[in-house]
């Protein structure tokens, strides 16, 4: 009852000078409107930014086998042969935080079509899941290879845009045969362009094929990948790099190269079903650490590791990307908040200004109210409520204005916009807070008037 009466008195007092009340609230209207519009547009941009960064692979985890070592010499990550396609299947089956996973084997060799040749930067043997993990499922042309192609080791491949340009000069490669190490592959699809990754590496310079085909037909043996530096250096110098005399291969070969006769005499064990890495995608950025825990537990169990034994694999996330993602979002939010706060403070100062003028102008009214029995705190309450009412009204108008503005932006500029109830709640609270903070001084001043002086005021 009391609050209601005070609120009504405040409304009436404001109603006596509606033009001034309107102009006063304008500061708050614009402030809150800006907050709401910025929050909504910002939230929309932030969401689409998150999506973009996620498509760069922020949710992707890479599992690589640990180091192989011999006589105290370790060969670095990825040299042991403990990771298997079955591990990949198990991860898919048993880790709930993993959205999809694909095994990867790599090769680096020459690709030939007609009289043109090229050494793609990346030649991955994988499964169709790779496209999903990399958010690359939509092809520019043709269709992806299937799980059956993987099972059969079919000689099919997908080409990146760079290869299409280099080998086919932009013509459609679908259905054409290319040769990789003298094995012919049928091109069944073309990947969409992706551009360079964060390291500046061309992601379109890629060939994807079933991992069985790459492993068993192209690389031929697992040991060549286990210690590939010498052999690949040798192959590439032989076949491509005519400048090898000027720039000899960095690594000296300690052992004499084996002739083909020697290789035939001591064949390498070929059908090792190990893979070089697994690429797994977590459901979202938040589930990256649970995914890592689940996979660590699973792989330790599958590899029969005792409690005190170190992991024979390593899992890495795209920490840099994830960090970029979160910094971008916080930066954006903070920027918007700063702008919003400044405009709200300006609005608040405007309110204080007008309330001070109003208090002076209504000195006699205050004196009269005191004479008929208003206590200091009644006066304080009245002016405080007036300021809060001004601010809340301004806040409400600001919400409508801001929301309308962001909808307009969405409609006209096609920017992504997300309605944020939190921003609206915050705007209401902040505008009430501004009213209390900036309305307090004038109200306090009014409550301290001497009724005799106030009544005599001209």
């Amino acid at each position: 009852m009391r609050v209601y009466t005070t609120a009504r008195t405040a409304f009436k007092a404001l109603g006596r000078n509606p033009m001034r009340a309107m102009l006063t609230t304008l500061g708050i209207v614009i402030g809150v409107g800006a907050v709401i519009a910025m929050m909504e547009i910002g939230a929309g941009s932030s969401a689409s930014l998150k999506k973009t960064i996620a498509s760069m692979g922020a949710n992707v985890l890479v599992i690589r086998p640990g180091t192989a070592s011999s006589g105290g010499i370790s060969f670095g990550v990825g040299t042991s042969t403990t990771l298997t396609p079955e591990d990949n299947q198990a991860i898919l089956r048993e880790c709930p935080s993993i959205h999809n996973a694909a095994p990867i084997v790599r090769a680096r060799t020459q690709v030939v079509y007609g009289n043109r040749n090229w050494v793609p930067n990346t030649m991955y043997g994988t499964t169709p899941a790779f496209l999903d993990v990399q958010d690359w499922s939509i092809l520019a042309e043709g269709e992806p290879f299937s799980d059956r192609d993987v099972l059969n080791g079919n000689r099919v491949c997908l080409l990146g845009q760079t290869l299409v340009r280099e080998l086919f000069e932009g013509a459609s490669p679908v259905g054409k045969e290319i040769r990789i190490k003298n094995i012919s592959f049928r091109v069944i699809g073309v990947l969409t362009p992706k551009g360079a990754n964060m390291m500046g590496q061309d992601q379109d310079d890629v060939i994807l094929a079933p991992w069985t085909t790459i492993k068993y037909r192209v690389t031929g043996s697992s040991l060549s990948t286990t210690n590939q530096s010498a052999s690949t250096a040798a192959t590439t110098t032989d076949t491509v790099n005519t400048l090898s005399n000027l720039y000899p291969a960095a690594q000296l070969s300690l052992y004499p190269e084996r002739s083909s006769v020697q290789q035939a005499d001591n064949p390498m064990p070929v059908r090792f079903a190990n893979i070089e890495s697994i690429m797994a995608a977590a459901n979202n950025a938040g589930e990256i650490s649970p995914a890592i825990e689940q996979m660590t537990a699973l792989l330790r169990e599958r590899h029969h590791l005792r409690v005190d034994e170190p992991d024979d694999f390593s899992i890495r996330d795209m920490a840099e990307l994830t960090k970029t993602l979160s910094t971008t979002t916080t930066l954006m939010t903070n920027l918007l908040l700063t702008v919003a706060m400044i405009s709200l403070v300006v609005g608040g100062v405007g309110i204080m200004n007008i309330m001070l003028v109003s208090v002076t102008e209504r000195t006699r009214e205050i004196g009269l109210r005191m004479a008929v029995g208003a206590r200091g705190r009644d006066i304080l309450q009245q002016f405080l409520v007036e300021a809060v009412v001004l601010c809340l009204t301004g806040g409400a108008m600001g919400i409508v204005l801001g929301h309308g503005g962001s909808l307009l932006v969405q409609l006209l500029l096609k920017w992504p916009v997300e309605t944020s109830p939190a921003a609206i709640a915050a705007a209401v609270l902040v505008s009430a807070g501004v009213g209390i903070i900036f309305g307090f001084y004038p109200a306090w001043k009014a409550s301290r008037f001497d009724p005799i002086e106030a009544l005599r005021f001209e």
């Binding site: 009852m1 006699r364 004196g367 029995g373 206590r375």
Partner: protein, 241 residues
């Protein structure tokens, strides 16, 4: 019992280092139902005495008993409550809230009253008060739509809304012409005789003072004359010299 009892009231204003005595020991008693005019030349201290009587100001020394309560030591908030319940004020310049209807002006003191009247009750009481001052048909008029006399009658209704025993009027006719002055003064006399409200008017106009039953003359902070004026047909208030 006396309604108002002043004992050796002194008021001294401090102007920097100089202290200016305005009231120099005033003793006075006023009974329920008196109609008093407080006169004196300008600077005689009548406004100061009025402020103290109206509990707007505190005396520097002395005792002020209002309706059996010593008021000179009350806090600001207690005095506000006292003003609300026991005192009514009518001012020279009416002091109505502009752009606020007559009925809301009259109901305004109720919002500070301890008894919480509902909106409807408050309006009903305000309308009744306006009826008593003869403005029953002007409830929703704004002050700017009323004549000076009507505005002063709205102010009287406002002063009486909490049914106070005492009504203070500070130069109530100062802004009115002689005809409306007469109306307002007659209303005071009627309220005094019919409803027994004690009325204390501050004035320097002998014609206004002529309506009072007792004239208290102040000169240089002291009471110089305290004259009951006998009127035919009304009971003479008891002498309090």
């Amino acid at each position: 019992m006396e309604l108002i009892e002043l004992r050796d009231i002194e008021k001294t204003y401090q102007m920097g280092d100089i202290s200016v005595p305005v009231l120099k020991g005033i003793s006075l008693s006023i009974r329920q139902g008196e109609l008093i005019a407080l006169t004196g030349s300008s600077g005689s201290g009548k406004s100061t005495l009025m402020n103290i009587l109206g509990c707007l100001d505190r005396p520097t020394a002395g005792e002020y008993w209002l309706d059996g309560q010593e008021t000179s030591k009350l806090t600001t908030d207690e005095r506000a409550l006292l003003r609300n319940r026991k005192l009514g004020f009518v001012f020279q310049s009416f002091n109505l809230l502009s752009r606020t209807s007559a009925i809301e002006n009259v109901a305004m003191p109720l919002s500070y009253a301890a008894e919480n009247l509902s909106d409807r009750e408050a309006r009903g009481r305000a309308a009744e008060m306006l009826g008593r001052v003869g403005l029953a048909d002007r409830l929703d008029h704004f002050p700017s739509q009323l004549s000076g006399g009507q505005q002063q009658r709205v102010a009287i209704a406002r002063a009486l809304i909490n049914r106070p025993p005492v009504l203070f009027a500070d130069e109530p006719t100062g802004n009115l012409d002689s005809r409306t002055s007469e109306e307002v003064l007659q209303m005071f006399e009627r309220l005094n005789s019919e409803e027994g409200i004690t009325i204390i008017m501050v004035t320097h106009d002998p014609k206004v003072a002529g309506h009072a039953k007792r004239v208290i003359r102040l000169d240089d902070g002291l009471i110089q004359g305290n004259v009951p004026i006998p009127e035919p047909g009304t009971e003479t208030p008891g002498g309090t010299s």
